[in-house]
């Protein structure tokens, strides 16, 4: 039994490790290398140019614009999504009318709401983006949203939505929030239902309002889950590729008001002149931003665990 151990370990690890090494680790390492070359699809050979590509993106206004949009997404989308998720989860689990001795009760049909809210989570981002592109249709008669505003007499609010440079990015953010709230409702509900009802009972008897119980009991006890959710949402906000590529006018338009770094990278590498070196450098920049975000999040969320 002993001597077979290493043969078994190698046998079980060889294939997954080989696949992972070739398709994940090696491209990862190569990206740093490619980012220091002037490789473009036009020349088969690549020349070492050191940090020239990094200098280029640092002086590229479009890159900073795209990065700024990613940072805006990173600041706004997770906050709103998690806040709405917490709000709805609290409503579902504690917002119900108390019956008999139960100190806290969920609303009726809580299970039903959770099923509906979770719908966008199982749909592909492609489906969501194309569907919302149709909803945002700028024509006052054709678009679902504009036509709704017309029907209820709010004609003045009708917009060209994705075509308006001042609100296009906000429209995309709204869709990202719409798509992700349901996940956090379910996640936070699971967390809330594991908090013993007696804690609520005690604080309600002591005269706390439900709002107080939310901030003093629910939120502190869910701290870890909220922090994890924050990281998940941050990753989604850093990407945003499919939403912007599919929904925005002219791939990042109008006037580059919705461009994000992943889309810029994709366009640089696979659409415009195949500037692989430059695109690879943008990839490294993405990694740096992601790492900074992860470290900051871990720093901010580290605190003593509350056991219950």
């Amino acid at each position: 039994m002993r001597h077979g151990k290493y043969r078994f370990i190698i046998g079980f690890l060889a294939v997954p490790l080989a696949l992972y090494g070739v398709l994940v680790i090696s491209p990862f390492v190569q990206d740093f290398q490619i980012s220091m070359t002037n490789w473009s699809g036009l020349t088969p050979e690549k020349h070492w140019v050191g940090l020239a590509n990094y200098r280029k993106i640092i002086h590229d206004d479009l890159f900073w614009k795209a990065l700024w949009h990613n940072v805006l997404l990173l600041l706004i989308v997770p906050v709103v999504t998690l806040a709405l998720g917490l709000f709805f989860a609290f409503m579902l689990n504690v917002g119900g009318r108390r019956k008999g001795s139960a100190s806290v009760a969920g609303v009726r049909g809580a299970g039903f709401y959770k099923i509906i809210y979770f719908f966008p989570q199982v749909l592909s981002v492609t489906v969501i983006a194309i569907l919302w592109q149709q909803i945002y249709n700028p024509d006052p008669e054709d678009g679902l949203l504009n036509s709704l505003l017309g029907h209820i007499g709010l004609t003045s609010l009708q917009q060209s939505w994705l075509g308006d440079p001042s609100i296009a990015l906000a429209c995309i953010m709204a869709v990202m929030i719409w798509a992700n709230v349901g996940f956090y409702v379910v996640l936070f509900s699971a967390g809330m239902s594991s908090i013993p009802g007696e804690i609520y009972e005690a604080s309600l008897l002591d005269g706390a309002t439900r709002l107080t119980t939310f901030f003093r009991i629910t939120l502190p006890l869910l701290r870890d889950t909220v922090a994890t959710g924050w990281v998940y949402m941050g990753i989604i906000a850093m990407d945003a590729f499919a939403y912007v590529q599919l929904m925005s006018v002219n791939n990042g338009g109008p006037n580059e008001t919705t461009d994000v770094v992943p889309l810029l990278l994709y366009k640089t590498a696979f659409r415009d002149n195949s500037q692989y070196g430059l695109a690879a450098a943008m990839g490294v920049a993405m990694l740096i931003v992601t790492l900074v975000f992860a470290v900051l999040t871990l720093r901010l969320s580290r605190r003593e665990r509350i056991e219950f």
Binding site: F8, I9, G95, Y113, A202, T225, F241, P262, G283
Partner: protein, 306 residues
Amino acid sequence: MTAETFEPTGPASEKTGARPKANARWGWKRSEGLVLNAFSHVFLVVWALMVGVPLLWALWSSFKTSGDILSHPWSLPTHLHFENWSHAWSKANMGRYFINTVIVVGFSTVGTMLLGSMAAYVLARFEFPLNRLIYFLFVGGMAFPVVMVLVPLFFVTKNLGILNTLPGLILVYIAYSLPFTVFFMTSFFKTLPTSVAEAALVDGASHTRTFFQIMVPMAKPGIISIGIFNVLGQWNQYLLPLVLNQGDTSKWVLTQGLADLAVQQGYQGDWGGLFAGLSIAMMPVLAVYVVFQRQVQAGLTAGALK
């Protein structure tokens, strides 16, 4: 900690608390409860409509003529135009893309679960040099953005001759699903009792046999959770096929076909076909979700709850 610890708090404070004051508070709190109840229901219904109506709209629009979709976006179809669906399925090739997606996701999910569980089992249960290093190598993959490796990955698959092929896409999906699968399954295998596997080994079963006949059946709940997670993640993948499968349209997957349909419809004005295509991509996953909603919710939130 068990619930009993908190039990004395309730009755005790009721007894010691000043009676009249407590009664007044109870009354006030009851009305607070009623207001909150109405308040919460309004918000909950509004959000349910905001989620449900767009999806229903896509479905009912798929039965309308293109002209009707444009001029009366809110009206119900007067006549069920099934030809939108048959048009999308055959002429717009959605049927082909659907089958391609089933093939790719089927093979890559099975591959991911098999390879991921094998690696996770070894990393969770055996001590050997480099164990930690290999574990962190796998798990580290969760931290970096996939978009970062697009350029080199494109050339790696090209050099291996698997660019623009379905097997290539399957291998890439497996490789990029391994980090989370290994991370989750390693902690899952650690929670399983060691005694059963040890008994099997003493009885003369090989390590391989112990894994497949004893550990895999025991790990079934974890495998199902992460299996669902992978099926949905791979079914919905857009970026990887867009870059690594841009060749022959007959090899496209559903998300690529749908994105193309959205662009085509702009030229051809076939809005009914677009909504039928959206419904084709949407309905199967929604149907599976409604039937298995508990497992799906548990599977997708499993990683975040740890």
